[in-house]
């Protein structure tokens, strides 16, 4: 497996799997060269943006170890000071982290050290493990200069005077360093051994908003529950507003004293924080809930929003002057329809590139994703209505593939005045089981146009649609 990046119009390996590395591939190698070393590798383009996104979500996941997790280039910095006790010591924390990242499928190089700089260096250049307190300086002694997080120019400048290891830098007089190699070297060195402060910007993970209200005692009074739910929705909407975001799904849990908790889920076609709209969707669902028996009832209502997406604030205007594209109104109409009829019963039309008549039109339930550009088939002569199940028919014609004389279907018989066709429509080659069909466009004595087909294998006739 190789990830390939384009550098100077040349395909270069950015990263590779363990097996490729064993065969001799390394990052920076030209792809053509790598192909010689590894036979038939799987090659994928390197996507830096996706890498960053998944690293960020891994950082969010890592907040189980410590509240302060920061993304640093291609790795994570986790500040576990004070957290080790809750895991039973640093050894246990280290083992747990290793195990959990492995479970996720990551081969993480982890090291635990008194400073960020030391841990960074140990994870990349040293041995993976725990550096005890006060040992940071000693651990760094033998590492190469790049482990100090300094620019390659600074590394080169040091190498020119014969300095290869961090230990050698430490032996140099401190006062000489800034003037010859820049301020950064000293700062990084101090940060690594713990003499200078290092600040990181932790990834903040906002928990999805949840609001809840407990009653003094269980109640079956619908008015009280409805009022409370409405207030909770308003509180939720306010929380969403503060975050400048909207939700695509809310879950309402009614905890009942004598029955298992009831949960209602409402999904929305686009993010919203409109309390009135949410309530109009919740209300009909709430009305159908069994609130519990006499003596029991609802004890607590909890509403949580998931799939929280950013939604910008809008200026309040009495009379909007701009031409709206009505997206918000359409979305709330679709939500209301879906809430009663079901998600799969409100759809958009999709014209697909297929010559099979029944596959040329599809239904799509999503509203938010961009519609795929429909196939431009040009105008083809197709009926205005196509039956979802073609209806069996009996046909009399004098010669095979010749004009149809009469047709019997849906319990009636009609003479056919005009026939156009046949148009042969074959099965798609990847579905061999289907039969080829011969289509005929026929006009009956009243002038109605029908679309008939004969299954060529069985010679059975069907009516597939009509023009009306």
């Amino acid at each position: 497996m190789l990830f390939v990046d384009v550098v100077h119009q040349k395909q270069v390996v950015f990263a590779c799997c363990k097996e490729a590395a064993r065969a001799g591939v390394c990052s920076g190698m030209a792809l053509s060269q790598a192909r010689v070393v590894v036979s038939n590798p799987r090659v994928e383009p390197h996507r830096a943006d996706r890498n960053a996104v998944s690293l960020r979500s891994l950082a969010a996941w890592s907040s189980r170890f410590s509240p302060i997790v920061a993304v640093d280039g291609d790795g994570l910095l986790i500040d576990v000071s004070g957290c080790a006790r809750s895991f039973g010591g640093e050894e246990h924390l280290f083992a747990l982290a290793k195990e959990q990242y492995a479970k996720l499928g990551f081969e993480a190089r982890i090291s635990l050290a008194p400073t960020f700089g030391c841990a960074w260096a140990m994870a990349r250049f040293g041995t993976s493990g725990i550096v005890p307190d006060g040992e940071a300086k000693r651990a760094l002694l033998g590492l190469p200069l790049a482990a100090l997080r300094i620019t390659s120019a600074a590394v080169q400048a040091l190498q020119e005077v014969g300095i290869e290891r961090i230990g050698q830098v430490m032996e140099l007089p401190r006062s000489l360093l800034p003037s010859r190699f820049g301020d950064e070297l000293l700062l990084r060195l101090d940060q690594a051994i713990g003499n200078a402060l290092e600040l990181v910007e932790p990834v903040r993970v906002a928990a999805p908003p949840v609001v809840s209200q407990a009653f003094d005692g269980p109640t079956t009074q619908w008015e009280a529950i409805a009022l409370c739910t409405r207030m909770l929705i308003e509180r939720l909407a306010l929380q969403l507003k503060e975050r400048e975001s909207g939700t695509r799904r809310i879950d309402i849990v009614l905890k009942r004293s004598d029955l298992p908790p009831e949960s209602l889920t409402i999904t929305l076609s686009r993010p919203t924080r409109d309390a009135r709209h949410l309530w109009s969707l919740v209300r009909p669902r709430l009305e159908r809930v069994n609130l519990g028996n006499e003596g029991g009832g609802v004890e607590e209502i909890r509403i949580g929003a998931s799939f929280v997406k950013p939604l910008v604030h809008e200026q309040i205007e009495s009379w909007s002057e701009r031409q709206t594209d009505h997206e918000q109104e359409l979305a709330s109409l679709v939500d209301t329809l879906r809430n009663r009829l079901g998600t799969d019963r409100v759809c958009r039309v999709e014209v697909r590139e297929s010559h099979l008549p029944e596959r040329a039109m599809g239904l799509r339930c999503g509203l938010d994703e961009e519609p795929s550009p429909p196939a431009m088939l040009g105008k083809i002569d197709r009926p205005t209505l196509l039956f979802s199940n073609s209806l069996a028919a009996e046909v009399v014609s004098l010669v095979p593939d010749g004009p149809v004389m009469s047709l019997r279907w849906r319990g009636g018989e009609s003479r056919i005045a005009l026939t156009e066709g046949p148009e042969h429509i074959g099965a798609e080659w990847w579905r061999r089981s289907e039969a080829c069909r011969s289509y005929f466009k026929v006009q009956d004595e009243h002038g109605r146009w029908l679309w008939l087909y004969r299954e060529n294998e069985t010679s059975k006739w069907f009516v597939h649609g009509f023009w009306a």
Binding site: V334, L337, R345, V346, V349, P357, T384, G465
Partner: protein, 268 residues
């Protein structure tokens, strides 16, 4: 943006009134601007003689019933919903802005590849269509009503089988308040049912010698327009195989003279 007005407390009362009147005027102008979609003009069908007979086109904010071809005496006999003509009208309604068309009820779902031609506006019309699978009568009536009141909708096309007078009244009111037309497809045996629709149309297939389908359209009822007798309210349209456009066929011989004559009389 409001222009700066002199402070009300310092000017005499007569001036106060003038200022207030100016403000009221501005507010009203703005309100009209905001509710522009509600008093939208009729949707021109592009069929000149029919538009002339309707006074500009199919009225927006009203209920229109289209009766399909079939046996008018037998209930539940096979019939043909006049979707070609209805989608023509609905497509014309989407030409001006980016609004959607809603199709309620599986019975009136069109076959989209037949609607799309080489025309970009038809592709957009199909792309912005929403199909709603409402099965029971209650669900259908509710969905139509809801869609009609939504400002994002250009036209509601619905399967109108079995709708009673009371429901059509409700839908007519909903259409009037929302501003979009509602085109109901109804089976031929319901011609005798009462309804509150503004117009009623009967569509029947017409024999043709070529391969392009033709239909006879009859305007059975048109509230608010001087009634037309006899042949005046009957037209023949044809579907062009190549382009998918529906156009008016000049009625042959005597009929053509009559319609022309009546058209001239009307315009005179």
């Amino acid at each position: 943006m409001l222009p700066a007005f002199p402070s009300l407390s310092r000017v005499p009362t007569s001036a106060n009134k003038a200022v207030l009147a100016a403000l009221v005027e501005q507010i009203e102008a703005r309100q009209q601007h905001a509710t522009r979609h509600k008093d939208m003009g009729p949707i021109a069908t592009g069929w000149q003689e029919i538009d002339a007979a309707l006074g500009g086109g199919v009225a927006a904010g009203a209920l229109h019933e289209w009766f399909g071809d079939g046996d008018e005496r037998t209930r539940n006999s096979p019939w043909f919903a006049p979707l070609t003509l209805i989608s023509h009208v609905a497509h014309r309604a989407t030409l001006t802005d980016r609004r959607s068309t809603i199709w309620v009820g599986r019975g009136c779902w069109p076959y989209a590849p037949a609607l799309i031609g080489a025309d970009e506006s038809k592709r957009l019309f199909v792309e912005r269509s929403m199909l709603i699978d409402a099965t029971t009568l209650d669900e259908r009536a509710w969905a139509i009503d809801l869609a009609l009141r939504c400002p994002a909708i250009a036209t509601v096309i619905a399967d109108g089988t079995g709708l009673k007078l009371a429901i059509t009244r409700r839908l007519q009111l909903a259409a009037a308040s929302g501003g979009a037309p509602c085109l109901l497809v109804r089976p031929p045996w319901e011609l005798s049912e009462l309804s509150a629709a503004k117009t009623r149309w009967r569509v029947r297939a017409e024999r043709s010698e070529s391969t392009e389908p033709r239909w006879t359209i009859e305007l059975l009822r048109c509230k608010g327009v001087r009634p037309m007798r006899g042949e005046g309210a009957r037209w023949v349209v044809r579907l062009d195989d190549e382009t998918g456009n529906v156009s008016l066929v000049a009625a042959p011989g005597k009929r053509r003279d009559e319609t022309e004559g009546s058209a001239e009389r009307r315009t005179a």
